[in-house]
């Protein structure tokens, strides 16, 4: 069994080059009055061109913090990156001084946030905000930038782009605002796009449209897309691979198609079972008992053990490493094989 946490994407391995983005044993802690919270506790994953990686987890699992750490925009204090590496095309971004690091932001790695209303500056027109990418990073004139902005807005399918370019964020609907944010993030054709819960604040129908837009843009530009979400449904449609996070660590990694049919970790299993199913109407809804732990007091052994229906003594004493169960499937559980087989 391979003991490393990372596994290079199949294409990269075949092509023999380093992955586009390689996060290696990332550690982030938050120093608060109530103690030190280990928000990200040894997370590793990689991403290659044209791939979509979904990072799935509940609130407090550390998924957003991971994204912010990769971008280098963590609020520090109270957050601190205390270990690991973030390699973009081989270059470790964490080791770079800030001004060099900044050169990658927006240009090579871009991010889209959840609530577009608060994420866009309310006092500047949307055209100005999108155009800022061109004016500041590429020194374009206002006129030229304006032309590119209209192109972008049309590309993300904002109707009447030419007329609305000088409108303000609050004049748009939620879905439109999200498109504006997406336009802003892909303006400079980044290699990696991180989408942090891009559809959580939107209606279901709009959700589907936005996800479709992201998928189109990704195919068109061969971007690597990291999709951060808590919504299993969204993942199924869009992602190639999935990493499930809990209490700051990755619990399971797999290709999307396989994980839904046969999870290899009790947490994933619990999540899948808690989705209400039409064909089981009339039966009790099942939910994972208990609550996620406070990150200042993570239980010893396996983080999930207080809530795990299969927990044994070894789970309370020894923290399971993320190990390859079967080729291509990784799980951090002492009984991963049994969960996979369904023998538990």
């Amino acid at each position: 069994m391979a003991t490393t946490d990372t596994f290079p994407a199949p294409e990269a391995e075949a092509a023999g080059h380093a992955p586009l983005l390689d996060v290696d044993d990332l550690q982030v802690e938050f120093r608060t009055r109530d103690g030190v919270a280990k928000a990200v506790n040894g997370v590793s994953f990689s991403l290659d061109e044209g791939e979509t990686l979904a990072i799935l987890g509940e609130s407090g699992s550390g998924k957003s913090v991971t994204a912010l750490a990769v971008m280098g925009i963590l609020d520090s204090p109270p957050g601190f990156v205390t270990g690991g590496a973030v390699r973009f095309r081989g270059q470790d971004l964490l080791s770079l001084p800030e001004d060099e690091r900044r050169a990658y932001r927006g240009r090579n790695i871009a991010m889209v946030f959840q609530d577009a209303l608060s994420a866009l500056n309310p006092v500047f027109p949307v055209g100005w905000q999108i155009g800022e990418m061109f004016r500041v990073h590429e020194g374009m004139s206002k006129k030229d930038a304006r032309v590119r902005v209209i192109e972008l807005m049309e590309r993300v399918r904002i109707p009447a782009a030419r007329e609305r370019i000088d409108d303000y964020p609050h004049q748009f609907s939620g879905g439109m605002r999200q498109r504006i944010m997406i336009a802003m993030s892909i303006a400079l054709d980044p290699d990696v796009l991180i989408a942090d819960e891009p559809t959580t604040a939107l209606d279901v129908t709009v959700q589907a449209q936005i996800m479709e837009l992201l998928r189109d843009l990704q195919r068109e530009r061969k971007m690597g897309l990291i999709l951060i979400t808590h919504d299993l449904g969204v993942v199924a449609d869009v992602a190639d691979r999935i990493s499930v996070m809990y209490a700051g660590r990755i619990m399971e990694k797999a290709v999307v198609g396989e994980i839904y049919a046969r999870p290899s970790h009790p947490y994933t299993k619990g999540l899948l079972e808690s989705i209400p199913r039409v064909d089981l109407k009339g039966q009790d809804l099942s939910a994972i008992q208990g609550l996620p732990p406070s990150l200042t007091r993570i239980p010893p052994g396996c983080e999930f053990n207080p809530r795990c229906p299969y927990a044994q003594d070894i789970c309370r004493e020894k923290r399971p490493a993320l190990l390859e169960v079967v080729p291509g499937r990784f799980s951090a559980c002492h009984f991963a094989q049994e969960v996979l087989d369904g023998s538990i």
């Binding site: 009055r33 609130s59 208990g290 609550l291 996620p292 732990p293 406070s294 007091r297 239980p299 010893p300 052994g301 053990n305 207080p306 309370r316």
Partner: protein, 330 residues
């Protein structure tokens, strides 16, 4: 301003126990650990107990609280601080500089400045206190009615509020007091009363706004709808649900505004239309001393210093209390 819905209603107000639907507290309460290790669930901490906990350690709070206590004692029992009679004035001693006999020297009339300054505390603090109480009651009532009943009552009251709000405090005070002047013959209580009433008329608006927005916020809360569904009438809802939530912002505001009122009263007295002799007040003392400021600055500096310290103490106190109650600073 703090968001009142983030406050726990104090148990003493008779509010029912309710779990605050905040996941944070739920997390604290639900922490489990391995059976072997001793683990205690955290006590859910309310905002008020957190605030008090912070306040106790805040040096600014302690310093200003101490100063205020001293001032209150000074106002209530001036004899504790001096055995001199502030009204005993000897023209021969006029404008003498501080000495061992008279720590602050003598003023124009030959009265002991130290004694007059100590005795002056009472008038200023009384005006500040009464005005604050009056403003709280009047403003609070109007704000509550406007917020609770809404509709046309709210519209009318809000328009009225806007009109009063548009008159600046000092200018309005000058206006009112110039129209109802006092002269040296007017009884002390009347003079003080006039100033209190004048300031109340002009200053009730801010508190009305605070109360009104608190009421509106609480009105829409689910637990109020539940209380209404259970047959709770307006007075009960106001008492059990609205008032407890309004306590924090009102206290913060009242503390700060008390300091401001003391300052405004002193300014009005300084101008000559606030408190008048024979009421002993800091503003009047400074007014008298102003003509000789070059030759005998001591007559002005000491009452001025005490006035400044008083206002500063109240405003610092209010500031500290507000910071303690602000959940965003946690």
């Amino acid at each position: 301003m703090t968001d009142p819905s983030a406050l726990y209603p104090p148990a003493a107000a008779g509010a029912d126990e309710r779990i605050h639907p905040d996941s944070e507290t739920a997390l604290e309460a639900g922490t489990e650990g391995p059976p072997g290790a001793p683990q205690q669930a955290d006590k859910p901490r309310s905002l008020t107990s957190d605030a008090w906990h912070d306040l106790r350690r805040n040096p600014i709070f302690i310093v200003s609280a101490v100063i205020i206590v001293v001032l209150v004692v000074m106002a209530a029992f001036p004899g504790v601080f001096t055995n001199k009679d502030p009204r005993f004035c000897d023209l021969n001693l006029s404008r003498q500089a501080p000495s061992a006999d008279a720590w602050f020297g003598y003023d124009v009339q030959g009265c002991d400045v130290y004694a007059r300054t100590i005795y002056g505390a009472r008038a200023s603090i009384l005006v500040g206190l009464f005005t604050t109480i009056a403003v709280t009651i009047v403003g609070g009532l109007i704000g509550m009615i406007a917020g609770f009943y809404g509709g046309w009552i709210d519209s009318v009251l809000s328009r009225i509020l806007e009109i009063f709000f548009g008159i600046p405090l000092l200018l309005g005070g000058v206006l009112v007091l110039a129209s109802f002047p006092s002269n040296p013959g007017t009884p002390q209580l009347v003079t003080i009363g006039k100033v209190v009433i004048a300031l109340t008329i002009l200053a009730w608006t801010s508190l009305a706004r605070i109360m009104r927005s608190t009421v509106i916020q609480v009105k829409h809360a689910d637990y109020v709808s539940a209380a209404r569904a259970l047959g709770g009438g307006a007075p009960r809802i106001l008492r059990s649900h609205v008032l407890p939530n309004a306590v924090a912002p009102v206290i913060v505001y009242a503390t700060i505004v008390l300091g401001i009122f003391i300052g405004v009263e002193a300014t009005l007295s300084f101008l000559g239309i606030g408190l008048q002799p024979p009421v002993i007040s800091w503003g009047v003392a400074i007014n008298d001393a102003s003509t000789y400021i070059r030759q005998s600055p001591h007559m002005l500096l000491f009452p001025g210093a005490l006035l400044t310290i008083t206002v500063l103490a109240f405003i610092m106190l209010g500031d500290a209390v507000r910071d303690a109650f602000d959940p965003r600073l946690r």
